[in-house]
Symmetry: C2
Subunit: 203 residues, 2 copies
DNA sequence: ATCCGACTGGAATTGACATTCCAATCGCCG
DNA sequence: CGGCGATTGGAATGTCAATTCCAGTCGGAT
């Protein structure tokens, strides 16, 4: 038994973290279905008991991985994501994403999107988590665009909410095609298309 | 064993088709990992031998499902996809996709994209098939845009290849978010953004 | 009519995986 | 010091999936 009010002491936290990190890595590389508990055990250097102690069951572990991945993603993009209020910033964000893909030879896709595609239809709880995760990711994009509009850099016609959603979807779709084709071109052209669409609202 | 030069007679073809169709349906609903051979057996009303007779192993079945899904998708969209050479046609295509999603309560996402996300990193052969599938899907989009440019409806700056890729990615990303949020809004705003981007090249 | 390969049924095999259990430590709190 | 819960190890359990085997049947070609 674990999840709800499970007391995790300072002694257990490193272990828990090690498990989540190992699981996140494996699930990113091989998918949730392709990652077994024994796989995680070996990668994290723990026994089965520990995994079940901290996460209850595999679904609990998956949910912890989702939480970890969205936190890690937002953390990594934080500086630029919090100031996504200019075309230069949008382009830098795009270029950072492209560079990240190149660094891993376009393998793996999006840390969140991949989990999403695999879990949406099979794990309702995970889907809830993913909805929240995407909302958290979309928020700063929307905020940045709203700031641009307030400043008068975008016309009043521009809808920050819709544009932010389109931006996020462009990243997801671009990453999927990039992952399949092993080329950053799809990601580049798609995100650029949306940036240019936003630019059409520039004053 | 089966796949390569397997002779499939007129007696076996219905069985084979039934298996592929059942497997495609199940894998669309529950994912490849969530679909077992016994599941397919029951849904198709066949014995294990028949599945292994026609497809060799589960990977073979998966590849057959990919082939079936891309054929079915192109078939279903054929009329509009072959004349995607006006803004009206693009909008009708988008609206058709939205209607299809609404009809299924935004569940399931893209028949091809879902398979793609689950298989890219774990099945190299399937990935090849998916590359080919997306290429076949992208081609008519590109052709339509090229026709618009030839006619002078789009400026010479417009690159049909890039725009077609962005369009496809917009659909994929839009569908993923639509599937997660159970709302057609993401699909609508994303595809619309790309259409509007294309319109910015209108003469 | 017969013959060969496609086709089918169903049981058997093998292995892996999620999960449970029990018995041991370990460290803080009083 | 004593205890209690957090933590850990490692084996055991039970299920289920992928795949194989072994016969049988069927239909078209010779």
């Amino acid at each position: 038994m674990a999840q709800p009010g499970r007391e995790v002491t300072s002694r257990g936290r490193p272990t828990r973290d090690r498990i989540v990190r190992a699981a996140a890595e494996l699930m990113f590389q091989k998918g949730v279905g392709g990652t077994s508990i024994p796989d995680v055990q070996e990668a994290a250097g723990v026994s089965a008991s520990q995994i079940y102690h901290y996460f209850g069951d595999k679904q609990g572990l998956v949910r912890a991985v989702i939480a970890h991945q969205i936190d890690a993603t937002l953390e990594k993009q934080r500086p630029v994501l919090d100031s996504l209020d200019s075309f230069e910033a949008l382009e830098m964000w795009r270029d950072g994403a492209i560079a990240a893909q190149e660094a891993r030879d376009c393998a793996g896709g999006c840390e969140i999107g991949s989990l999403a595609g695999e879990l949406v239809e099979t794990d309702p709880l995970a889907r809830e988590d993913l909805v929240a995760a995407f909302n958290r990711w979309e928020a700063p994009i929307r905020t940045g665009l709203a700031r641009m509009r307030e400043r008068g850099e975008l016309s009043a016609d521009a809808d920050p909410a819709s544009l932010a959603t389109a931006m996020l979807a462009a990243v997801q779709g671009g990453l999927l095609l990039t992952q399949i084709r092993r080329s950053t071109v799809p990601l580049y052209v798609t995100v650029t298309a949306v940036i240019e669409h936003i630019r059409s609202f520039a004053t």
